[in-house]
């Protein structure tokens, strides 16, 4: 194996200079286990079992999100959007994840930079998330299309916040 050369002032600690994750025999056994079709099948079954549980959890977060907009509870909106964006795709709700990500980025950035928050942007996102989270295939297509539009809107809004903050700095 070709050894990498260190940059000036840097030291390279080669792989044989620190403790290995597994010894040679164990590494070979583990790699064999990972390559087995049965292993992969077992893991996919585990993923599928969790999918239902995660889907319920995401719907629960969406309910909290919908309540939070009614009370203008920004902290809860940020918190729930964060939970949804991390989990939705593993429940098969990819568009919901993208929408929640856009919502999180917008509200979190605006809050951190103490910029005014456009309630309409939040409302559009939450309505889209609620609709895209239903199981109908039409909802999925709708979610994908709206996520693209709303992500563009969030980018535009974040640029506006950035300009505002740059001017006032």
């Amino acid at each position: 194996m070709t050894k990498e050369k260190a940059a000036p002032g840097a030291t390279i600690i080669d792989v044989d200079q620190y403790p290995p994750l597994l010894d040679e025999e164990a590494a070979a056994a583990f790699l064999t286990e990972l390559s087995l079709r049965d292993t992969s099948k077992r893991a996919n079954n585990a993923l599928e079992t969790k999918r239902v549980q995660i889907s319920h959890a995401v719907r629960g977060y969406i309910e909290v999100l919908e309540k939070a907009i009614r009370t203008n509870d920004i902290a809860t909106i940020i918190e729930q959007a964060h939970e949804i964006r991390g989990l939705a795709a593993n429940a098969g709700l990819e568009a919901v994840g993208r929408l929640a990500d856009g919502l999180y980025k917008y509200v979190d950035t605006a809050t951190r930079l103490e910029a005014p928050i456009d309630a309409e942007v939040i409302s559009l996102h939450i309505n889209a998330i609620a609709r895209a989270s239903t199981t109908a295939s039409e909802a999925k297509a709708y979610g994908e299309a709206v996520a693209t539009e709303l992500n563009a809107l969030v980018t535009h809004k974040l640029q506006a916040i950035n300009r505002l903050k740059t001017k006032s700095a």
Partner: protein, 171 residues
């Protein structure tokens, strides 16, 4: 080959969402890693590391109060880190590129994109076992060598225009 050869492997999952933690634990179990401990943020992860030194870590990026970047930096560089060489897989979702770069510069070994798939997790674990990377130590960085891209036309050994043989020190 007996499963007992690797059954002592211990993974630590650092993730603030209980459902994602549970998902990762289930997947690791299914892949043969039976010892899995959990922590809800970076601080708890460091405490857990001191109780049960893990062989590998899966960490989320966005967590409060201590996120995955700060956690990774602590694992790699803290004086009292139980294992600064431990492989760290960062689980990332819809994250901005600068944050992912910051995670890499904190010393993350591998990235696992959300949504999590079995194939991707297997690939990351296999990469860590099959191709461990040298570590680099310098004033501003300690962690796995970040130079992973192999350039077809690269004839080496120097990669930088200012590289000289004087800077080389292989321990």
């Amino acid at each position: 080959m007996p499963a007992s050869a690797y059954e002592h492997l211990h993974a630590l999952v650092v993730e603030d969402n209980v459902h994602m933690r549970s998902l990762l634990r289930s997947l690791l179990h299914a892949l043969g890693i039976k010892n899995v401990s959990e922590a809800a943020d970076g601080d708890a992860g460091l405490r857990e590391m001191r109780n049960h030194t893990p062989d590998l870590i899966l960490t989320d990026l966005s967590m409060v109060p201590t996120d995955g970047i700060a956690f990774t930096r602590q694992v790699r560089t803290a004086q009292n880190s139980p294992n600064p060489y431990v492989p760290i897989i960062m689980v990332t979702g819809h994250t901005e590129r600068p944050r992912v770069e910051a995670a890499r510069d904190a010393g993350v070994t591998e990235f696992l994109a959300k949504p999590i798939t079995v194939n991707n997790l297997i690939a990351r674990l296999a990469e860590i076992v099959e191709r461990p990377r040298p570590f680099v130590k310098c004033e501003t960085y300690f962690g796995p060598d970040r130079r992973r891209r192999k350039t077809k036309d690269f004839t080496g050994p120097w990669r930088r225009h200012d590289d000289t043989s004087e800077g080389v020190e292989v321990r």
